[in-house]
């Protein structure tokens, strides 16, 4: 899947400083980042490098201390809480390391939740939830509670919830962090399928094996982007294209 030329989101010199008592912690120090529509980007780096802070800002869960953030061409770094909630609901899909399914709600209701907040009609919600669960192979577990599912299954449901609303971008924060390798691989395969189907994905991971699944890997260190590289799949795809006699820019 090739990314289009127009960036879906742009960070311009984003800084984030945390103040605790007398300590000032610079979590992000002048981040510049563009993610284009349909792109699959991994953000990698050691613990404490600012990956999750960056993802929180991208997901409008947090706001930058300085700098600009444009999503779909619109400045979103200083919106009101309710406006941010609205954009989160329509433009962003979240996948968390700890799944973050709501224990009191069934699988169906968990996936339906963001659509409910959007005020979508019951019939539309039903179709979207069904499609999303079909996509992740969990339709047969729709009436189950999260506690009745394995970790891998719970993360599949979380993926379904993230994509049910057809967001502009899916943000995944260490989606395999709480899974064994088999389940982790399965979830990564799911992500690839989503990407192939056109989804824009930004994934935070500290595991290089999974980072290489992306088109582009952004390396963070001490709150700065220190390196960007093409992912393994992108390299492989480029190689295959060259082998077939195509010119690759």
């Amino acid at each position: 899947m090739n990314a289009s030329a127009q960036p879906l989101l742009r960070l311009d010199d984003v800084k984030k400083v945390f103040y605790t008592d007398e300590v000032e912690t610079h979590a992000l120090s002048g981040i510049h980042l563009d993610i284009r529509n349909g792109e699959y980007v991994s953000i990698a780096g050691p613990s404490g490098c600012g990956k999750s802070t960056l993802l929180s800002i991208l997901g409008l869960l947090d706001s930058p201390s300085e700098g600009g953030y444009w999503l779909n061409g619109k400045q979103v770094s200083d919106l009101s809480l309710s406006e941010r909630a609205r954009i989160r609901n329509r433009e962003v899909g979240f996948i968390f390391q700890s799944f973050n399914l709501i224990g009191d709600l069934s699988v169906y209701e968990n996936v339906e939740l963001p659509l409910t907040y959007r005020g979508m009609s019951s019939a539309d919600r039903k179709k979207r939830v069904h499609d999303a669960l079909e996509k992740v192979g969990m339709a047969h577990r729709a009436k189950h509670l999260p506690s009745q599912l394995s970790g891998g299954q719970q993360q599949r449901v979380a993926v379904a919830r993230a994509v049910a609303g057809e967001p502009s971008i899916v943000l995944a924060d260490e989606p395999t962090g709480n899974l064994d390798s088999t389940n982790g691989e399965a979830v990564m395969e799911l992500m690839r399928e989503l990407h192939r189907a056109g989804a824009t994905i930004c994934m935070v991971t500290h595991d290089p094996r999974y980072a290489r699944h992306a088109d582009r890997i952004v390396h963070l260190f001490d709150g700065r982007v220190v390196e960007e590289e093409q992912g393994q799949l992108a390299v492989k795809a480029e190689h295959e294209l060259k082998e077939s006699g195509f010119e690759v820019a």
């Binding site: 809480l81 909630a85 968390f96 409910t116």
Partner: protein
């Protein structure tokens, strides 16, 4: 709507998944709402529920207004006739009043606000002949009153109430024509009121008699006796009107005001009513602004109990929100707006409120149905008067509506602050695997602390109020009323068939007193016009001579006419001078003993012995019913010499010192010595058979015996009821506050288990852990106590008028309530704190 239903569905499911939390929250709210609903039910029964009459909304109660704007509920009969005949806004205007008449023979003795306990009294209403037609009631059997029944000199008749007919006449359908003796007079039963008709007050009468029969059921000398038919100033009846269809209350008010103005111009006497005011007569009671002020402390107390319950539930919801922090963060991350989330959380708390309210309603219905008969039976009233009290406490739509409103308000009050606080979590950390580590704003919530402080403060406020009222009862019980009531018997004595002059009564009493003096075990016997603690004292006019203070203008004094032994019989000490002696009483010497307060008022700083005071001639001439005329200015005031000063007493009402009080000697031939007082060595009640035996030996006497101790009990009962109610509310508040504090501290301990583990691992002793939590609890308790003492002082100000010889800032009440509450609060902290010491550091350090 769909979203709301979804919120309700999720809310219900969430509550069912946490049954422990739900049960505690629902029970807490049920207690708070139940108490509130119970009070509202009683209020509704009195003030809101329409009377069980035809078109009750057309009824109006009419009150007069004097020149000072004070309300005067009684009208003279002549004024009634004028209002009835001159107005054209009423379909009918009714005059009526209540009286309790002894069943059977008349009871000797004069008027008294406290009825003797050994006589059966029946409650009656004296009514104008249009009473039944205006109120729209029919006779179940026989007939209602007719105009002829109210003719002067008409044969006395009675319409029985349905309950009295059932109880006393076994629903005898042939009761019409039978007779009933009331106060020695024979009344003919002419009908029975239809079932359910109780008139316009909750104390339904046993029967209705015509106004014309008024003096037959009242003792001679009773208020406006014999004058009520002829004197325009003899206020004797209350007025209720039924508006004509299409006439509004405002129109009727204007018409009646016009008539009041005309009457004021035509009869411009002092104290004349200059206006009237019409209030809705749809319910039993129409509370005026002043009356509402009296019940304000009770409303406040009940509201505060509900507030404590809400604070408890708010704390529970805060604790629950803390455990749901991750869920809330996820919802926010998925795009729920804060308002949307607050709405959902409020839906949950309102569900708790509604379920709590429904349980509270049941609780209130059960409690009221259980307590109502107990309360009625504990009233110190004669049996007939208790039986007649019919208050409908069945829940109606107003009570359902009120409960629903209270439930929703309680749900919002309890849920709003937690919802607002819970809906602003630190999203980034909450969504990470840090769900078990609460953000500071939930784990060490200022809101939670504020709620605990509020609970303690409100609880102390209530406990101080309750403490003051309980101490008040104790204070009354131990009050020095100035004389002895123990082993004293008061007997009203009179001939069954008195002669017109009353000389036979006088002689019979003298003979009986003589015989009683000779009985073993009798310490002293005396006679008096009024018995101690018989209610409002007799009053007359008095004056000082023109050369002395008050300029010779008459002023009101309380008095009693007593035989010389009166002071000995009651142990009423003479503190200066002497009591009058037998010879002075025999010769009718114009001497008087005054109270200390009288001396202070009339001759401050001087020796009152030998001073002279003019006493209303009516008293000297024994025209008791004309006492008020002495104030007209034309009265004669024979001069009496002060020979002694008796210590101040409370001979009328226990809560009221006598003030200006004169003890006038009872001459042997006076008709005023109706009461014989006997002081005995042993229990006075055991002396009653001997009293009756001696009375029979003297002649065909009627005797009604009563112990002043009983009267004291009667007078104390409202204070005791107030104290019991306040005590119950205080204890409920204490229980709720204790449970609330316990819950909060338990939650805090559970949230700090990991921290405790670390502390223990680092060498902390159990006492260090206990101290850690006790310090937190103590700090909150101390702050709450400070605010509570301030609240208690405010409540004490409201209660000041109900306190008898007790300072509103009584240190014992404030101190004991504070200490008691502090102990409960510390215990509520200590139990969870002790639990903290049992923490296994290995387990705690793995605690998530």
């Amino acid at each position: 709507m769909t979203t709301l239903l979804k919120d309700i569905k999720y809310g219900l499911r969430g509550l069912l998944r946490k049954p422990g939390f739900t049960v505690v929250a629902v029970l807490t709210l049920a207690l708070g709402i139940g108490v509130t609903t119970a009070l509202f039910t009683v209020f509704d029964a009195f003030a809101l529920r329409p009377l069980p009459l035809k078109n009750p909304e057309q009824l109006v109660n009419i009150s007069g207004l004097n020149a000072r704007g004070e309300r005067m509920n009684l009208f003279s009969y002549i004024d009634y006739l004028d209002y009835r005949d001159r107005s054209d806004v009423f379909a009918g205007l009714v005059a009526m009043n209540k009286v309790a008449a002894p069943l059977g023979d008349a009871v000797p003795g004069g008027e008294s606000d406290v009825l003797p306990g050994d006589v059966e009294y029946v409650p009656l209403q004296m009514v104008s002949d249009n009473y039944f037609s205006v109120l729209g009631a029919k006779a179940e059997t026989g007939r209602a009153l007719v105009a002829e029944d109210n003719e002067p000199g008409a044969q006395p008749v009675i319409i029985l109430s349905h309950w009295f007919w059932e109880h006393r006449f076994n629903s005898d359908t042939g009761v019409a024509g039978k007779t009933l003796r009331l106060r020695g007079e024979t009344f003919t039963v002419v009908g029975v009121a239809e079932r359910g008709f109780i008139g316009t007050s909750p104390d339904a009468p046993a029967g209705w008699i015509p106004l014309a029969a008024r003096d037959r059921v009242l003792p001679a000398g009773f208020w406006n006796y014999r004058r009520w038919l002829t004197d325009r100033d003899a206020d004797s009846v209350t007025l209720v009107g039924r508006l004509k269809p299409g006439v509004s209350r405002e129109q009727a008010q204007a018409a009646m005001s016009l008539i009041a103005g005309q009457l004021a111009t035509e009869y411009p006497e002092d104290g004349r009513k200059v206006g009237v005011t019409l209030a809705s007569g749809m319910a039993f009671v129409h509370f005026s602004a002043e009356e509402l002020q009296i019940i304000t402390p009770l409303l406040l107390a009940v509201g505060l109990v509900l507030l404590i319950a809400c604070a408890n539930v708010a704390n529970l919801l805060l604790a629950r929100a803390a455990t749901r922090q991750k869920e809330i963060a996820v919802r926010l991350a998925l795009g729920a707006s804060r308002w949307r989330l607050v709405r959902q959380l409020l839906t949950e708390s309102m569900l708790l409120g509604v379920v709590g309210g429904a349980s509270g309603l049941l609780l209130s219905v059960w409690t009221l149905s259980a307590l109502y008969p107990l309360v009625i039976s504990s009233l110190p009233l004669p049996a007939g008067l208790k039986e007649s009290f019919t208050l409908n406490l069945e829940p109606d739509f107003r009570i359902f509506g009120f409960t629903l409103l209270a439930s929703l308000v309680a749900g919002i009050v309890a849920g709003l602050a937690p919802a607002l606080q819970a809906s602003k979590p630190d999203l980034a950390s909450a969504l990470k695997d840090e769900g078990s580590t609460l953000s500071p704003h939930l784990s060490q919530s200022r809101l939670r602390n504020a709620l605990v402080v509020t609970q303690i403060a409100v609880c102390l406020t209530l406990l101080v109020g309750a403490g003051l009222l309980v101490r008040n009862v104790r204070s009354i019980q131990t009050l020095d009323i100035g004389f002895e009531t123990k082993n004293v018997l008061a007997a009203a004595v009179g001939l069954r068939k008195p002669d017109a002059e009353g000389r036979g009564d006088v002689e019979a009493r003298r003979l009986l007193a003589e015989r009683l003096r000779g009985l073993p075990g009798v310490k002293s016997v005396s006679q008096a016009y009024r018995t101690p603690l018989a209610g409002g004292p007799a009053k007359t006019a008095a004056t000082l001579s023109a050369s002395e203070r008050d300029g010779g203008h008459p002023f009101e004094v309380n008095y009693n006419v007593v035989s010389p032994d009166y002071f000995d019989t009651l142990g009423l000490r003479i503190v200066r001078g002497r009591a009058f002696n037998g010879q002075e009483a025999q010769t009718g010497a114009r001497v008087v003993v005054i109270s200390e307060a009288t001396a202070r008022r009339l001759w401050p700083g001087e020796d009152p012995i030998g001073k002279r005071i003019g006493v209303g001639a009516n008293l000297v001439e024994e025209k008791e019913e004309d006492a008020s005329q002495a104030f007209g200015g034309a009265g004669v005031f024979p001069s009496f010499e002060v020979v002694g000063v008796a210590r101040d007493a409370r001979s009328g009402w226990v809560w009221q010192k006598d003030g200006t009080f004169l003890y006038v000697p009872l001459s042997p031939n006076s008709r005023l010595g109706q009461q014989i007082l006997i002081s005995t060595e042993r229990d006075a009640q055991a002396f009653v058979p001997a009293l009756r035996r001696e009375a029979r030996a003297v002649g065909d006497l009627l005797v009604s015996a009563r112990r002043p101790e009983e009267a004291l009990e009667f007078q104390m009962s409202p204070f005791r009821s107030m104290a019991m109610l306040a005590g119950a509310l205080g204890m409920l508040a204490l229980a709720l506050a204790g449970v609330g504090l316990y819950g909060v501290m338990s939650f805090v301990v559970s949230q700090r288990t990991r921290e405790i583990g670390i502390r223990v691992a680092l060498g902390a002793q159990p006492r260090d852990c206990v101290r850690l939590f006790m310090r937190q609890g103590l700090r909150l308790t101390a702050v709450g106590l400070v605010f509570g003492i301030a609240g208690g002082a405010a409540v004490a100000r409201m209660l000041a008028s109900a306190l008898v010889d007790l300072s509103p800032l009584d240190p014992a009440s404030f101190g004991s309530a504070s200490i008691f509450l502090a102990c409960v609060a510390l215990l509520s902290c200590y139990i969870p704190a002790r639990r903290a010491t049992k923490v296994d550091p290995m387990v705690a350090l793995r605690y998530e």
